[in-house]
């Protein structure tokens, strides 16, 4: 919810209109270079017991949020998010009409287990990332 409002605020501030319809799923991998994203902080108690920082990313009508402890590397969080998002989009067909996101927790779990095992962000260079993709 908070991510959604941050996203809408950011989009409106840059003057871009938000498109209400879902576009066709593109065939080539979605480039997320220009996808809007950002960072903000949540105070303790709302809803996490400690203070946390949230990195978020928005792709079309979807928002992804990664919740980090204060001591974590935010640059890496943004990188991790930008890697997770397209893989989740593809694997769960998130922009399509189906309900895979609800019925395939195993697909999401496998992805998260590789790129964010037990919540640990990983410093993976591009070749390592390819090796991870190969394993899946």
């Amino acid at each position: 919810r908070q991510v959604a409002s941050q996203c809408r605020l950011l989009q409106s501030s840059s003057g871009r209109p938000s498109s209400p319809q879902l576009p066709q799923l593109p065939d080539e991998p979605i480039s997320l270079q220009d996808a809007p994203g950002g960072l903000f902080q949540l105070p303790p108690g709302d809803p996490f017991p400690e203070r946390v920082t949230v990195a978020w990313l928005s792709v079309v009508a979807l928002a992804f949020a990664l919740v980090c402890d204060p001591q974590e590397n935010l640059s890496l969080a943004e990188i991790t998010l930008r890697r997770l998002a397209p893989r989740l989009l593809t694997s769960l067909r998130l922009l399509g009409p189906g309900a895979d996101v609800l019925l395939r927790p195993d697909a999401a779990d496998v992805l998260l287990d590789r790129l964010l095992p037990h919540g640990q962000m990983l410093f993976l260079n591009e070749h390592f990332l390819q090796a991870v993709d190969r394993e899946m």
Binding site: G38, Q41, P97, A99, P105, D106, N125
Partner: protein, 811 residues
């Protein structure tokens, strides 16, 4: 939000009843106990997961069924997908009382990781975290054969220490520290081999793998790191990546100096660092304790990463990782130096070089923050002059990169982490606050709550006035930044061609125009520069009016009222008499000079009005001291409509504090002067114009004018007849048709009631005097506390006295 199909699925899942769920569970149980676990089993488990996860309240599943799930999870016959699903369901049900899972017998590390994920989600009621921690360390301690992936276990360990750092003994942390040091420093520098694909035509002789390379393609000549590149990776290289990924966390948890090492007992910090300067190649590292050894290897690793970040990557995305690694490396070095100051001298030299290397490159700006933090923490000890670093950071970076939201966020966090820097008046940090506000002006929504935390540290008697102006002009700053971003760099010949006599047609043109240039420069300044003439920016504000409806400007404008209220709250704590007076004068002045955004102005007036009252309460004497300015403000008819909130509160304050009991210097002449001015105002807004249409004024303005006039009359009793006569005329006003068509009935009733009460009060002048001019030290009684409430209360009492109830009046 969801697609239609997903919405309906979710709804169905939520509405499944207990009985239906039980039946479904037994069906699933039957399938799970069957010989083959194929797609049907997976499908059922997926639906079961959705059912359990869809509701906020926990779903009950039969204890035996839960046991079955656990058995299936741990069975080696179950395919991976089934195991993952069982684990997901079990996690979803945490905390779960029927858990019999134990990590002790499991050999396969992938499965172990999965089981641990379930155990760690249980909330640690039965010391699961500790049990997991023990098991993981035990497994890591053994020499694992190549195939067994220890890499699946390190993230579990990281999770364990987040949840409960005490669950590992010192011996265990030493074991892990030792291993981590090896993984970081001694991973293979040869690439891995592809798993043989098998098949009839496969060539059994695989090619010899080559050495790993750097991100720019060069052959690596030093040890393996996360920035090393290969086609395939070996197990220890994986461990290298994971060890580094959790290194910061590990050092923060267990790296601090606890025991005394045998070497450091009698040597001071200085001597130790001299020693390390002499023997820079660490010789007998094997003799170091595991903690110290890990620190040494970690330091070397980070140093290598810093060197590696200098290379130009072949793949663009590797560049992002290089920057993230750089930030991580510097941060870890900072932590290491905090834990063992002998590293400071080694670090200082190459960190300074790093800074010179990246300070000109805006893509590396985020890395400047941990570097600055390092010098803040350790620069003094190393007797290093790092002022140039701070100057560059605070002067250049915000001005150039305010539009980068991630940098903006991290920069403000940096300020919040180091608020002690802002207390020193002459410091570069404090002087740069105009620059800091650029971050807020451009990125308002995520940063407003951060600035609410930061603002009190920037405010003191020296900066209050400038920050007041800055806050009121914050949306202008947004507009100016927008223009600055859009204005191209003009060649010098074009600059000269700008004719001062010709007015600029657009904002962009105005940016270079001699008339406006200095105004822009002032608004966009990087350092504090208290200005005496706030009127200076009036033409610029008008010019920027065309951008007043731009979304970013409007967003910024919404943050101003919040910050203004905070501003006054903080200033009230330290402001002295002259500062309060100055603020009131400026408040009245600036009310004419605000950026033209209607909602913005209304909100600002509302805040300024109530804060004006607060300032008068703090220092009632100001009403007398600033009588000239206040008279001028309250004597301007247009203020009643345009700035109603401020006007009303100002008039209320006059009524309240213009009295000898608040300031001995208050003379009868002054009271009379205010009376005449306000009487003229009330006359102006209540006169009935026969031909012209009656403009409507806020009813509360009328009320407060009447009340204040009455109060003043109570103090200078010659005025009483005039007020009484005026008040008696209010009945005519309220009942005239021109007025009833413009004001609503409740408001007119209220006005009439108030006028009557005030008139009654004036019939008993000594009571009126008491009510309206209480002794100052009675201020804490309930009667006085909220005067806006107490006046009606007082009036009601008096009215009751004047209209005797039966049996009340004696004789």
């Amino acid at each position: 939000m969801f697609t239609a199909a997903a919405e309906s699925f979710l709804k169905q899942a939520r509405e499944i009843q207990e009985e239906e769920l039980r039946r479904f569970a037994s069906r699933v149980a039957a399938i799970l106990q069957g010989p083959e676990l194929g797609p049907e089993a997976a499908d059922c488990l997926q639906r079961l997961h959705l059912t359990v996860a869809a509701t906020k309240y926990p779903r009950k599943l039969d204890g035996k069924f839960v046991e079955l799930l656990q058995t299936v999870l741990c069975s080696s016959k179950s395919p991976e997908q089934i195991q993952v699903l069982c684990a997901a369901i079990l996690r979803e049900m945490s905390p779960c009382n029927d858990l019999i899972l134990s990590c002790d017998e499991i050999q396969d590390t992938k499965l172990l990781s999965l089981v641990c994920s379930v155990l760690l989600a249980q909330g640690n009621k039965k010391a699961e975290v500790s049990a997991v921690g023990q098991r993981i360390v035990k497994v890591l301690e053994r020499r694992l054969p190549e195939r067994q992936g220890a890499r699946y276990l390190l993230p579990v360990l990281s999770n364990v220490i987040s949840l409960s750092p005490e669950s590992l003994t010192e011996e265990q942390t030493n074991v892990v520290s030792k291993k981590m040091a090896d993984w970081l420093r001694y991973a293979s520098v040869q690439q891995g081999v592809a798993q043989p694909s098998g098949g009839f035509f496969s060539n059994p002789r695989t090619r010899q793998p080559g050495p790993v390379t750097e991100v720019d393609g060069a052959i690596a000549t030093d040890f393996f790191t996360v920035l090393s590149v290969g086609q395939y990776y070996t197990e220890d290289q994986w461990l290298n990546v994971q060890a580094f990924s959790m290194l910061r966390h590990w050092l923060l948890c267990y790296g601090a100096k606890g025991l005394k090492t045998p070497n450091s007992d009698d040597k001071s910090g200085m001597d130790r660092s001299v020693m390390s300067m002499v023997s820079t190649t660490s010789t007998s590292s094997r003799l170091l304790l595991p903690k110290d050894r890990l620190r040494e290897k970690a330091f070397e690793y980070c140093q290598r990463l810093i060197e590696q970040s200098n290379r130009r990557p072949l793949k663009k995305d590797d560049g992002d990782l290089q920057k993230a690694c750089l930030i991580e490396a510097v941060t870890i070095i900072d932590i290491i130096c905090k834990q063992d100051s002998s590293y400071v001298y080694r670090a200082v030299s190459f960190l300074k070089i790093l800074h010179s290397r990246i300070s000109g490159d805006t893509t590396y700006a985020r890395a400047l923050l941990p570097i600055a933090q390092f010098f803040l923490n350790h620069g003094k000890m190393a007797a290093v002059d790092s002022d140039a670093i701070y100057k560059h950071l605070f002067t250049d970076i915000p001005a150039q990169l305010f539009h980068n939201p991630s940098l903006a966020f991290e920069f403000v966090q940096f300020c919040k982490d180091n608020t002690q820097l802002f207390t020193e008046t002459s410091s570069i940090f404090r002087q740069s606050f105009p620059n800091l506000f650029k971050f807020l002006a451009w990125n308002s929504p995520p940063l407003i709550s951060e600035f609410v935390d930061l603002l009190p540290f920037l405010l003191d008697a020296g900066t209050a006035i400038e920050i007041f102006h800055l806050l009121l002009d914050l949306p202008c700053l947004t507009a100016a930044l927008d223009i600055q971003l859009r204005s191209p760099a003009l060649p010098t010949s074009e600059k000269a061609a700008c004719d001062p006599a010709v007015k600029p047609a657009t904002c962009l043109e105005a940016f270079r125009h001699p008339l406006y240039k200095s105004m822009f420069q002032y608004l966009l300044r990087t350092k504090s520069a208290p200005e005496d003439a706030p009127e200076r920016l009036i033409p610029l504000r008008q010019l920027l009016g065309s951008l007043a409806s731009s979304p970013r400007v409007v967003q910024c404008a919404e943050t101003v009222p919040v910050l203004l209220e905070l501003f006054f709250r903080v200033v009230a704590e330290f402001a002295d008499g002259p500062l309060i007076n100055q603020l009131v004068v400026l408040l009245l002045q600036r009310s004419d000079q605000l950026y033209e955004i209607p909602a913005f102005k209304d909100d600002v007036y509302r805040v300024l009005g109530s804060q004006l009252v607060m300032l008068c309460k703090l220092r009632p004497a100001l009403v007398v001291e600033l009588s000239t300015e206040i008279l001028e403000f309250s004597g301007t008819v247009s203020n009643i409509q345009n700035k109603e909130a401020i006007f009303t509160h100002m008039v209320w304050a006059i009524g309240e504090y213009m009295s000898v009991s608040y300031d001995k210097r208050c003379t009868v002449e002054q009271i009379n002067q205010f009376f005449e001015t306000l009487e003229a105002m009330l006359f102006e807004i209540t006169q009935l114009r026969p031909l012209a249409s009656t403009p409507s004024y806020a009813p509360r303005a009328i009320s407060v004018l009447m009340a204040t006039l009455t109060k003043l009359a109570a103090r200078s009793q010659d005025l009483i007849p005039r007020v009484s006569m005026f008040l008696s005329k209010m009945r005519t006003f309220v009942q005239s048709p021109a007025v009833t068509s413009v004001y609503c009935e409740e408001d007119l009733d209220e006005i009439l009631i108030r006028a009557t009460e005030l008139m009654n009060l004036l019939k008993m002048p000594s009571v009126a005097q008491f009510v309206f001019t209480p002794p100052v030290d009675v201020a804490s009684t309930r009667f006085q506390r909220e005067v806006n409430d107490s006046l009606p209360f007082a009036l009601r009492i008096v009215t009751r006295l004047l209209e005797p109830a039966p049996g009340f009046m004696p004789g």
